[in-house]
């Protein structure tokens, strides 16, 4: 289906006018334009609201096999001998609860916040000090137990002005006196050199890039938002969402795409993958953020029904009646979304039609099985 679309797009790209498609076409040439959260609206309140957080976490589709996978860049160079324990049922449940907490920690999403403002804060001005020195003096308060963002870092300029330092200087001095593990004092080449970044993206090392960006930058830095936005767009253009699923970066990516109203490719991937429930969650997310979905309230109420159900890591093989009911509601909801707000109508409709056919077969199969077992 996407093949048909691509062929179409290649033949006459001008006929297709919607924004998202133009974005896709342009990004195929990999001329990605970074877009920062620098508008009037602050994304932080939306991002941190409990509704959105829950939706994003659910959309991440956490698979514990991937969350607790063997990590090579984990700080230990040599593997350790595994340990074993004999556990009773209750102890095992406790351990699993602990593991869930740990998974939450591992999947904690990097915050999405507005870009930082310059610090312009003159503390005093003493023209009598002009000529004292040609260099700046930078004073750092290294009092124990102060957080990096609250540390007093001020500078005395050669013209005698005493002012608070700007963010870049603050970051540099914080790193000099209180180094963070993994953060480099000067920008790593993979971020500074766009060629190197592009080559990493072409090799689909998305998670590596995003992890390193998290270590190197603060979330409100322009460089961070530049790197992450380029990476998200790259993932979106290649439809390689699967690489970021079960990682902490999937949430911010979904938020980014939804914030810029370009999540229709993701929606298409969800429908094609048969994850209609997640597609509903995505439309509910859009409703939460923008409030412009055709039947947004329906999607919201449906999302409340979907959230208590277990995460579907694979396509289900048999269905219960409740599943069938819920899924058919979801399909209706998505249909309305497609007709109302979607910017990739034709493909999404085709995908939904394919899903319907597949689902009808599944329903017949599971009902037939039930009959054969004699339960109905």
């Amino acid at each position: 289906m996407s093949l048909i679309f691509r062929r179409l797009a290649r033949n006459n790209p001008r006929n297709i006018v919607t924004d998202a498609q133009i974005l896709i076409i342009s990004s195929r040439k990999l001329s990605l334009v970074p877009s920062l959260y620098d508008g009037d609206q602050d994304p932080a309140p939306k991002f941190f609201s409990s509704n959105v957080q829950i939706l994003l976490k659910r959309l991440t589709r956490p698979d514990f096999n991937k969350v607790f996978r063997k990590r090579t860049n984990h700080g230990f160079s040599v593997l350790k001998t595994p340990s074993y324990k004999f556990l009773t049922n209750e102890e095992l449940e406790e351990e699993i609860a602990k593991a869930n907490e740990k998974a939450d920690r591992l999947l904690q999403m990097p915050p999405v916040v507005k870009i930082q403002q310059h610090i312009e804060d003159v503390l005093s001005n003493d023209p009598a000090l002009i000529g004292y020195d040609t260099a700046k003096y930078i004073f750092t308060d290294i009092t124990f137990g102060v957080a990096n963002e609250h540390r007093i870092i001020i500078e005395r300029d050669p013209d005698g002005t005493l002012r608070s330092c700007d963010h870049d200087v603050r970051k540099r001095l914080n790193q000099a006196y209180f180094p963070l593990n993994g953060r480099k004092l000067r920008e790593p080449l993979m971020f500074a050199d766009i060629e190197k970044l592009n080559s990493l993206l072409d090799r689909e090392k998305y998670e590596f890039v995003l992890d390193r960006a998290c270590v190197q930058y603060e979330p409100d830095e322009p460089s961070y938002q530049r790197v992450t936005s380029i990476t998200y767009q790259h993932v979106d253009s290649k439809s390689k969402y699967e690489l970021l699923r079960s990682t902490r970066h999937f949430g911010p990516m979904t938020f980014y795409l939804t914030w810029h109203k370009s999540m229709d490719n993701l929606m298409l991937e969800l429908i094609q993958g048969g994850a209609v429930r997640e597609a509903v969650l995505l439309s509910a997310l859009r409703q939460d953020i923008h409030g412009d979905v055709a039947n947004g309230d329906v999607a919201r109420t449906l999302a409340q029904q979907i959230l208590p159900t277990p995460v579907q890591l694979t396509k289900p093989e048999t269905l219960t009646e409740e599943d069938i009911q819920l899924d058919s509601k979801c399909v209706e909801c998505i249909e309305k979304y497609i007709t109302g707000t979607s910017s990739m109508k034709s493909q999404q409709e085709l995908a939904l039609q394919g899903f319907r056919e597949y689902y009808q077969q599944l329903i017949d199969l599971s009902r037939g099985l039930k009959k054969a077992h004699g339960k109905q």
Binding site: L123, S124, D126, A128, L129, I130, G131, Y132, D133, T134, A135, K136, Y137, I138, F139, T140, D141, I142, T143, F144, I152, I154, E155, R156, G160, L162, L173, A176, Y177
Partner: protein, 134 residues
């Protein structure tokens, strides 16, 4: 083998006079100072009571001189009646923690004066050259 801790390893006498001073560390041609509190009558080579900060007098690549101050501990030692030597007082004055030290004003004024004089000399020379050339 690690460096002595910033809490200091020197012997401490409660009633002896203390001073907060710069102690030169670093090596030949590369000065670097620790701001430390120690007994007033103790040599700079002897262990200090506590390190309170550092001062790098050589400008870095961005033309900045870096000073680190543990203000909390400095306040504590000032409260204990520690004496502050002139260079440290100057740094604290520049940081806005103390009033600006008179010597800083003097240095600034003298630097400005030499600058003016140099400029005047240059102009004189130029004028001379102009007259000789014409």
């Amino acid at each position: 083998m690690s460096l002595p801790p910033a809490s200091g390893t020197g012997r401490y006498f409660a009633r002896a006079a203390k001073s907060i001073r710069l102690i030169r560390q670093g090596c030949t041609n590369r000065p670097f100072f620790h701001i430390s509190v120690t007994h007033r009558r103790r040599l700079n080579s002897q262990p200090v009571i506590e390190q309170l900060g550092s001062y790098d007098p050589m400008p870095n690549i961005n033309n900045e001189k870096l000073v680190a101050l543990n203000l909390e501990r400095i306040k504590y030692w000032l409260g204990q009646g520690a004496h502050v030597t002139n260079p440290v007082a100057e740094l604290l004055g520049l940081s806005g923690f103390f009033p600006i030290h008179p010597r800083s004003y003097m240095t600034a004024w003298r630097n400005r004066r030499t600058e003016r004089e140099n400029l005047a000399k240059l102009e004189e020379q130029k004028a001379k050259e102009a007259t000789t050339a014409s």
